[in-house]
């Protein structure tokens, strides 16, 4: 089977409600790269009107950040059959990248600064809390090394060195992990809560992270890993990706490492 015969269906969770922080960039990045790799691509918006069938047919999930009120609207919608469908997808190993508000929804609950606790799907074993309206937001450039064992192993094999992610975090809520594996360890920045040095979470093939920016364009290897994993899962065959011209991304990374005084090799 060649690349032109494969099709990647990207499921974009609540594009009109959860797009506060440029996270559409992740969708654009996956979509464009998959096309450059020669695959057919379809982006399926999973908005309030989306059906359970639509959730079932996607190969890869992308979710972004939201304002607190929008987040509540999402949670009212993401119940019953829809919640079950999403849970089944992730448990079955459908890869996904969930940033900012999205991971808060995948945990047990999120306590906003004002108003009531928002119950999550409980897929990831973590809780998120906002420490109060006057508490400082965690804002700034963030660098972390991926440590989640399976992902770290596969990416290290691909890159020939430990995978380091560059992003920007901007979150009021703090996340505390239970038994779930952290995505990585923070080199520079706050991470999940600014206390335990951990960033994000990794469960099956789903990535939860506070790193937006958006995260994928400056970390293209992660985008390629998502594409490859999604298609291998779908077609049950080995998928090889050719190298793309990522010089601009590498220059962007170097500029950020320099700015933050972090050496990539030392990281």
């Amino acid at each position: 089977m060649n690349n032109q015969q494969m099709e990647l269906k990207i499921g974009w969770l609540y594009p009109t409600l959860m797009s506060t922080y440029g996270d559409r960039g992740n969708v654009i990045c996956i979509q464009q790269r998959a096309q450059w790799h020669g695959f057919n691509v379809q982006v399926i918006p999973l908005d309030l009107q989306a059906s359970v069938t639509e959730i079932h047919q996607v190969d890869l999930l992308v979710g972004g950040g939201a304002q607190d009120r929008q987040q509540e609207i999402v949670m009212r919608d993401l119940k019953g059959a829809k919640a079950t469908a999403l849970r089944e997808k992730i448990e079955a190993g459908t890869p996904g990248v969930f940033t900012c508000g999205a991971p808060q929804l995948l945990g047990h609950y999120y306590e906003p600064a004002l108003g009531q606790r928002i119950e999550g799907l409980g897929l990831f074993d973590f809780v998120s809390k906002h420490p109060g309206i006057d508490a400082k937001r965690c804002i700034g450039n963030v660098i972390f090394e991926i440590t989640a064992s399976k992902l770290a192993e596969e990416l290290t094999a691909l890159l020939g060195k430990p995978p380091v992610i560059i992003g920007f975090e901007n979150h009021g809520g703090r996340t505390y992990l239970g038994k779930v594996e952290a995505l990585g360890k923070v080199i520079s920045g706050y991470g999940n809560n600014g206390e335990d040095g951990m960033e994000g979470a990794f469960y099956h093939n789903a990535i939860a992270t506070y790193s937006h920016g958006p995260v994928l364009p400056k970390n293209p290897f992660l985008a390629d890993w998502l594409i490859k994993t999604a298609l291998q899962q779908k077609y049950q065959t080995n998928v090889e990706l050719q190298l793309l011209d990522d010089r601009l991304a590498m220059q962007a990374r170097e500029a950020m490492f320099k700015k933050l005084g972090v050496s990539e090799l030392a990281a």
């Binding site: 797009s19 440029g22 990045c29 901007n170 601009l248 991304a249 962007a252």
Partner: protein, 457 residues
């Protein structure tokens, strides 16, 4: 304890307050003098800060002396342009106006502007004060200043790292306006659902401006929208059409909330500068000027002769080539700017665009917003795109990911160095065409400094 009271139109202040006020004003004036003579900057913030420490009630004591009252201008985009237009209208009518024209719109900036027009006895002489106020500062200054007019232009997502969320801001505004006297006049954008809703729920006199010209509808709702959900019940709003971002003609199929009836006919008035944005700014200033009693002929004349503030659609001429600087600091602003540039491109008047992205405090340190901009549209119209700024590679990546096979041969040129970027962009602009520069705030100051050979103070 009332320290200030109005009797026979004269403001009386007790002696201690009076003394502190005088000391505060003279200290502030000295600081301004030092800063300016040493060319340290514009002195638009520090004098007010020091003065507020000496007389913490300075904002209240000074603003109450403005003869006919304070006009407060709030909104994410268009504050500076609208304030300048309104100021010109009032001045052309013959009134003396004090205005924080340097755009310093936090508390200390407001105080500095008022002090500039105050004598050593603490007496301020002005018929009107026009104060552009930062959206987050509104709740803090409203109790102190008690404006006669409040103009709410729009609420978009701006700098997430500073402001958080549109919903929160509008709730704070509405809470802060509620206790103001019933004769306060609020002028709000009817096309902005959040502000329409805010206006409909106030007890004060509220007037609305907005567009009523479906020929300007966009073909589709752009991505960078903030509020397409009913601010009253949370249902999806039904749009008959969108003018820009989430501004448009709308109603709620669930609770019946809809766009407020406008008090000005948009089709009857000319506009300043270019772009739909400035149509909104013109309507806002015009409606307010009408309320105050500026003659229609004066309003019309002011609109026709209006020139842009620096960086706001300002035009310069550099070695025979026209350069237009269009401040682009958030997704909505940049989308609208791209729309304007594309119209000029289509007419053959432009082919090269320079985008300068910085991530300093006044720009917002979070540059992720560029992914909410529909840069695909700028790429699709072809030509050259030169990128520069502190985050040049972030901008370059955004443009790279906007390129598809059908991108009309749009060429991306990456230049870390800003002077080099400007020179390259000018080289790529034939005589007779206009080079469009789209900078963030601090980048705009740098670009302008380089182009005019002098730094802005």
């Amino acid at each position: 304890m009332t320290l200030v009271d109005r009797k026979d139109g004269v403001v009386k202040i007790n002696l201690v307050d009076q003394l502190r006020l005088s000391v505060a004003v003279s200290t502030a004036n000295t600081i301004t003098y030092i800063i300016r003579s040493l060319k340290l900057g514009a002195a638009s913030v520090l004098p007010g800060e020091i003065a507020s420490r000496i007389q913490p009630r300075i904002l209240s004591l000074l603003s109450r002396q403005v003869k006919y009252g304070v006009i407060m201008i709030a909104g994410t985009n268009g504050k500076t342009t609208t304030s300048r237009l309104l100021r010109k209208m009032l001045e052309n009518q013959g009134w003396r106006v004090v205005h924080n024209e340097a755009g310093a719109n936090l508390e200390n900036g407001l105080a500095t502007a008022l002090i500039e027009r105050t004598n050593l006895f603490g007496k301020l002489k002005a018929d009107y004060a026009i104060l552009e106020v930062d959206e987050n500062v509104i709740p803090k200054v409203l109790p102190k200043i008690q404006p006669k007019f409040i103009l709410c232009l729009n609420l978009f997502r701006d700098q997430l790292d500073r402001y958080g969320e549109v919903d929160t801001i509008s709730q704070r505004w509405s809470k802060a306006i509620a206790p103001l006297p019933p004769d306060t006049v609020v002028i709000a954008n009817a096309d902005d659902p959040t502000l329409s809703h805010l206006g409909q729920n106030l007890t004060q006199k509220v007037l609305f401006f907005g567009l009523s010209e479906p020929q300007y509808y966009l073909d589709e709702i752009p991505h960078a929208v903030d509020s397409i959900y009913c601010p009253s019940c949370g249902e999806s709003l039904n749009y008959q059409g969108v003018y820009l971002s989430h501004l448009g003609d709308f109603d709620c199929p669930n609770c019946g909330f809809k766009k407020s009836k406008v008090n000005i006919d948009s089709s009857k008035w000319p506009q300043i500068l270019i772009g739909l944005y400035n149509k909104y700014n013109t309507l806002a200033a015009t409606l307010l000027a009408q309320q105050i009693g500026v003659a229609e002929s004066v309003i019309l004349e002011t609109i026709k002769t209006f020139e842009a503030a620096f960086g706001r659609a300002e035009e310069l001429e550099i070695s025979g080539k026209k350069v237009r600087i269009l401040l682009a600091k958030n997704p909505v602003g940049m989308n609208e700017t791209i729309r304007t540039v594309n119209e000029i491109k289509k007419a053959g008047g432009a082919s090269t665009t320079l985008m300068v992205l910085n991530d300093r405090i006044p720009d917002g340190t979070d540059v992720s917003w560029i992914w909410d901009v529909d840069t695909e549209k700028l790429v699709a119209s072809g030509g050259n795109i030169v990128v520069s700024g502190d985050r040049v590679y972030d901008m370059a990546l955004r443009i790279k990911y906007s390129q598809t096979n059908g991108n009309n041969g749009c060429k991306l040129i990456v230049k870390e160095d800003l002077s080099e970027a400007i020179a390259t962009a000018l080289e790529h602009t034939p005589v007779g065409e206009t080079l469009h520069i789209l900078p963030t705030y601090s980048a705009m100051l740098e670009v302008r400094g380089l182009l005019t050979g002098k730094q802005i103070l």
